[in-house]
Subunit: 402 residues, 2 copies
């Protein structure tokens, strides 16, 4: 097994059995491949006798997205497992436990979270997650603070960046989030009724300037170790528990990109809460719940990040009067700008979200798409002027009432 | 010779002779160690018969500054030679030619530039360098543009950053430029008559905020491959030729740090042109020459950088209307802020400049120190508000007339 090859169920069982003190020595193991096959193989290996189970996740040497396939580095499995270990160190309990890593086979063996659901699906099913804002703000505050120059020795941080130079996966983000949606690119994918909206987007040079500046931040601002793809499909959830998964896009970038990704995905679900006669009351309640969650995430994040800064700041310069306020203000602005980019690309770009795409009625779906696009564009326009998270909320509210 | 050891003259001769097709086979070689012994051994190896010569530069495993000695990575020799090769690739003729590199011995064999003088000394001796602004603006524009995301493929750039993670030497800059001068640090070194000025500096929290923001840029903005220590002591010069040397501080950082370093060092020499009865007329001429050079550097740099951008930009996003203007404006602001930091530290911090320190008359020297400090502080205060290089020049002019 010293060379890379895609695993079979028997391979997965054999590797899983080698984890010390996990399964009982005698009982039979069962493996079931549960991945979608686009990027990874995911084996659920369980032992019916002991009730124990784990996940064997293996990267495939290609990516398939919307029918297309292109080669993709296996090194992302190493990056994912190293990022998970660092996240577990700084935000314990908020990522799956890692049992074993094999960089040659590009695999990670980790905690089975089958008792959780993917948050995107959970939200689509009307789930309510009262602990989520608390958990995700904790995850963001701790992972971002302790991997930044504010919370980590600066020389140590520089050496850590060596493990997270991630050009191939960053390139996917650079293209699909910061480039293609703003031009008539082949990769774009949108319903025909959005053609006029897309054309407006492609010629809006004031908006393009903001996107160019945000893209530059994504390319050059080595602020902290990001998850890099923190949408609601990268979160396993129950009402009592939050687990962030899949940090294969991890790299050192601008903190606002992670915070903005979460907020954007809640806003995409929000835009999908399209009023529709009979359900109107329920939809209003859903929207209020989502807005409260967004506010709570930012407010809790900011409070926790400032507390970490005050209690664990690495050096005296960071204590300069006014510096923390200035930093948090820029972080809010980045968060709003990146949230906007993350929304626009989910309507016009290659990869969409099920929250909106699976709305059965085409007229309701179109309205949701246009609202998502409108919120996204407004956030991008706002970003460098933003003073408060309430401005983001006001944009969402005004669009939902339009 | 497979392990590191400090070279002797016979070692230097032996290594120099191994360079193919350089020296004549028969003639005797002579070696002379000409370094200052603080950081490096520098052997001048020549062949009197052929008139040929070269430099063997070897890093020492420690740094000595103002009597103190601390260990320092030999990896800086690799970084220096790799940076020189890249600079030579993008700005040919403006760095010494490299003949050979040995990372184990931490040595670089390069072109002998003994026919040049160190620019700091040249300026102190009243030298005039009509080609300098043209050459250094070319060096800055080309090395910074072609190693940034604007001029280099972004994935390639990410891989190149791996070779220039330079924590030890960056730490020296972080401490000596962005930290110690702004507090009562042991490393600071200034004449007793500056005690009151130092105390004001240490308690100026509005200034500290600007320095904290500039330091953050130094720590996190991975814009381009910098020289990292581009003062007039890192430049060999004649009226016809400019050669940038010693890029051992090279790393991916904010472009304005390099441009600001050059301008700061010209302004330090400018502050040393203290009026003094008999010499007044000459001093005025010197000041005008230095100011013209500074203006010319920025104006030429900006013109060349914009031309490179227009002709060699890597992607369509960089062509977004308004983006180039926005970028150049921020670059000017960074340049002014970093120039200010570079000046303050040369008066209050550990390492000074001979331009000022060697002024024989203590009263004239004090006046020069205070002018340098005043210009530096004003530039730091200006930086985020700056609109034009003329504002920097106005500050210098107003201080020199004070």
């Amino acid at each position: 097994m010293s060379q890379y090859h895609p695993l079979t169920d028997p391979d997965a069982i054999q590797i899983a059995r080698s984890i010390p003190h996990f399964f009982e020595a005698e009982g039979e193991l069962v493996s079931r491949e549960i991945g979608d096959g686009n990027l990874n193989l995911v084996f659920h290996v369980s032992q019916p006798g002991s009730g124990r189970s784990l996940i064997v996740k293996q990267a495939l040497p290609y990516a398939k997205v919307v029918g297309e396939s292109w080669p993709l580095t296996l090194d992302r499995a190493r990056i994912e497992s190293e990022a998970l270990r660092i996240e577990d160190q700084f935000a314990p309990g908020l990522v799956p436990k890692i049992y074993h890593t094999d960089n040659v086979l590009a695999l990670t063996i980790m905690e089975d979270l089958s008792n959780h659901v993917i948050m995107r699906q959970g939200l689509m099913d009307g789930g309510v997650y009262p602990k989520f804002a608390e958990d995700i703000s904790e995850f963001l505050a701790k992972t971002l603070f302790f991997t930044s120059d504010l919370g980590m020795n600066q020389q140590e941080k520089k050496l850590l960046t060596l493990s997270f130079v991630n050009p191939e996966l960053c390139k996917i983000t650079e293209d699909l989030i910061f480039d293609h949606p703003y031009t008539d690119a082949d990769t774009n994918s949108f319903d025909p009724h959005l053609q006029a909206e897309a054309s407006i987007l492609w010629s809006d040079s004031a908006l393009h300037l903001e996107v160019a500046i945000l893209r530059e931040k994504f390319l050059t601002h080595s602020q902290a170790l990001l998850h890099g793809d923190l949408h609601t499909g990268s979160i396993f959830i129950t009402p009592q528990s939050t687990k962030v998964i899949d940090p294969e896009f991890a790299y050192f970038g601008p903190m606002g990109f992670d915070i903005g990704a979460i907020i954007a995905n809640l806003l995409l679900n929000y835009a999908a809460q399209e009023h529709w006669s009979a359900e109107e009351t329920a939809r209003i309640g859903r929207r209020e719940y989502l807005i409260e969650t967004i506010r709570d995430i930012w407010v809790s994040f900011e409070r926790k990040f400032r507390t970490l800064w005050n209690e664990h700041g690495t050096d005296r310069i960071a204590k300069t009067p006014g510096y923390q306020d200035h930093y948090m203000h820029r972080l809010l602005q980045d968060t709003i700008g990146f949230a906007g980019c993350k929304m626009v690309r989910r309507v016009i770009g290659l990869s969409h979200v099920a929250d909106i795409d699976r709305i059965p009625d085409p007229i309701v779906r179109e309205r949701a798409q246009k609202k998502a696009l409108s919120i996204g564009k407004s956030l991008i326009v706002l970003n460098r002027q933003a003073q408060s998270i309430e401005e983001l909320i006001a944009i969402a509210n005004s669009v939902s009432k339009a």
